[in-house]
Symmetry: C2
Subunit: 265 residues, 2 copies
């Protein structure tokens, strides 16, 4: 899938691309500034569901990134919208930090919704969800990422708990965040821009690149965050480009700005 | 797969067949006594890995079952034997109650071994295992059962955590307990009895019946424990017989003893 010669919008993953934990990826703050000078609309798409959007924005701004809250599309908020649209009354297994953003669990739930509870994925809560799934309640998950990069190394993401609940219950989860098509399409529809005129930059081969390219958005894979060398030779997911980091991706898009080593493919 | 006209040994699952939590299944104590009068060798095969064998025996005896420790083959002890045979130094994620039976984790592990930690499946421990798996350590699991029956309902078993770790790490676990072939074969080899001359009685369609029949042991599925109505119509796993409970299974084997309603198929 070719990159557009003149992209009209850029979709950007956050964790692993712009920052790792509370540290910016080297050169990323400056690269985002350079990208801003072109006046392109930007959307930041994140499957991080351990923090509310306000805290994500505050953290990015503290690292020096020029990003506004309404440019950030989170799997949490997309899930809240979907729950409202469908009129559901879910049981939520989520991180306590997003409880106020997503709302309280209902006493008589008609759906199960899971976010990345992280250390709060406890056996009793998982067993409660398992039993609701065995009763046939719809199974909605904000994301199903396998792992993410933290400062001390690759770290287990919520996908492990989703896959485990699917295995034991025999039920299939509906994913709201990346790589779900509506999550990508929603960002572009809001901007009125066609997929082939946009670009996505991410560090997750399957959920960022695979998801974006499935709806026709060319993806640039960066070699930061959860990137692993084997990702370059995946049989199914072939990024439009693979570059060292966010700064190199921006350089590639802007035709040479601040290039640090050769952009590849 | 036909039942033998005169079985020479009977393999029996424990939880869900003879008892649920600390309550015997109605009629099971008497049925086991009746089976004992025939002098058949019996082996009890359990994937329960939250308790050491001594406690399992004590619990069964307290419920009135005439069972000796050396008749019980547990996934914990089979795993300990395998670890010794291979000379491994594992990191263990297991229930604290079996720590003394399986041994301590090694500081520099060369394998990962998981049992049913139950409420002790905590995020940090799972993340530690995930990171060891990403380093390429062999992944050994005592079992991968989906769920089991507790007195308050179907309950999440360790298979959820195994499947989740497999998903996130991209690694495949080696199972030691049921339905692994060596686990069934070992019980019969010890007795010197051919698979077709034995019978297994279990409540788990895939791990008991499917596992036994894969090595040629006809399986009787009981409608107690984790049995669910859909199990009767599974496309792949077709038990040699399906009966109401352990007493009916014994009646079927002994040709009518204490029959409670018609044995089916």
């Amino acid at each position: 899938m070719p990159l557009p010669t003149t992209p009209r919008a850029v979709l950007i993953d956050l964790a692993g691309v712009l920052h790792i934990d509370d540290q910016p990826v080297p050169g990323a703050v400056q690269a985002l500034q350079a990208l801003r000078t072109r006046g392109l609309p930007l959307r930041f798409l994140t499957n991080t569901t351990r923090s509310p959007r306000a805290r994500i924005v505050a953290s990015l701004q503290a690292m020096g990134f020029d990003i506004a809250a309404d440019e950030i599309q989170t799997a949490v908020l997309a899930t809240r919208r979907l729950v409202e649209q469908r009129g559901l009354h879910p049981y939520y297994l989520v991180h306590p930090d997003i409880a106020s953003e997503i709302g309280p669990s209902h006493a008589e739930p008609d759906a199960v919704v899971i976010g990345d509870a992280g250390p709060h994925f406890e056996y009793d809560a998982l067993n409660t969800v398992f039993r609701l799934l065995m009763q046939g309640l719809p199974f909605i998950v904000m994301a199903r990422n396998r792992y993410f990069m933290a400062r001390d190394g690759l770290t287990l993401d919520m996908g492990a708990f989703v896959a485990g609940l699917e295995y034991s219950s025999g039920r299939q989860a509906e994913v709201i965040g990346k790589p779900a098509e509506p999550f990508f399409r929603g960002a572009l529809d809001e901007l009125g821009i066609a997929p082939a005129d946009a670009v996505l930059i991410g560090d997750d081969l399957a959920d960022d690149i695979g998801g974006a390219q499935a709806v026709g958005i060319p993806g640039i894979l960066v070699r930061t965050g959860k990137f692993r060398p084997g990702d370059e030779h995946h049989p199914a997911h072939r990024p439009a480009a693979i570059v060292d980091d966010f700064a190199a991706a921006v350089a590639r898009l802007l035709g040479g700005w601040g290039q640090r080593g050769p952009a590849q493919r």
